[in-house]
Symmetry: C2
Subunit: 148 residues, 2 copies
DNA sequence: CCTTAATTGAGAAACTTTCTCAATTATAAA
DNA sequence: TTTATAATTGAGAAAGTTTCTCAATTAAGG
């Protein structure tokens, strides 16, 4: 709630406009919730936090909004080996995530180690590679430091 | 159906035994279905194909079996940017997949380009990286060659 | 063979996601 | 400013997915 709207949310209005989409309070609120969080959030996490800003927000709107924001690259879906459908803010359209498996903290890193590797792999496999999905799991410095 | 059981399925019996799990016809049939397929398969794909071998197989058994096989590394879950929960055979426990987005064909490649990169990234982010998830999307040689 | 604990099938229950539609609202044109 | 319009929303119903329960079955070891 602290600083709303912030620069990122003003940018978002531009992106929405470019795509011919409306800048609704619901969309900005959901984006704000994800932007403010250092952890990945489930659908229900997002609904609850969005309702703190806009109490009447409906669940269907959350689903629709997350699809819209993910499609235009303002947020990312976060996948886990045994189930997915959580979401996180994405600071960069080519952002990969590191997830702390202890406290759920999430960090995105923009640079990508794949550019070279791709061509090589393309040749060997015969696949024309268009896209990739990378996610790292581990422990953040706080959690790795703690004995618990 | 062609060659059942094949070498891979005999190996699977060993792995199940090591873990104290029973080698049931259902588990071997599901593994066979995934092993035989060149494409990733949804839960319902797997149920249908398993029923061709064991007609009474129940849906709950498919869910339970996929969890077991994935936990012991004989198969992998395949994730997509906008939804997941499909499955594929995994020839290697550190196997990453390339998925053809036109025909759903899937190929796993065992070698991993990350070993070096990890340490570097660990230092910069402060995360202790334990695990990673990588998947590539593109077009297989057949699909890339065809105009359609 | 027996025994025993693990596994299964079936359907119920719980949970998640999508759909429908009337009411509302952001936007741009007048 | 108003006004017109198409996009978006909330609510609840519907559809779809996953998990649970439990009696019956069965794999595996003695
Ligand atoms: Zn942490
Ligand atoms: Zn990348
Ligand atoms: Zn293909
Ligand atoms: Zn790897």
């Amino acid at each position: 709630m602290a600083h709303f709207p912030c620069a990122k949310e003003i940018d978002a209005k531009e992106v929405l406009k470019e795509k011919g989409l409306k800048s609704t309070p619901q969309r900005l609120a959901v984006l704000h919730v994800l932007h403010e969080s250092t952890k990945y959030l489930s659908i229900n996490n997002i609904l609850d936090k969005t309702k703190e800003i806009l109490p009447n927000t409906g669940l269907a709107t959350i689903y629709r909004t997350l699809d819209v924001l993910a499609d235009i690259g303002l947020i990312s879906r976060v996948h886990f080996e045994d189930g997915c459908h959580t979401y996180a803010y994405s600071s960069d359209s080519h952002g990969h995530h590191i997830v702390c498996t202890k406290c759920n903290k999430i960090m995105d890193f923009a640079e990508c180690p794949f550019e070279d590797y791709m061509e090589n792999l393309s040749k060997r496999t015969g696949f024309k590679i268009n896209n990739h999905f990378l996610q790292l799991f581990g422990e953040c410095n706080e959690c790795a430091g703690n004995a618990n």
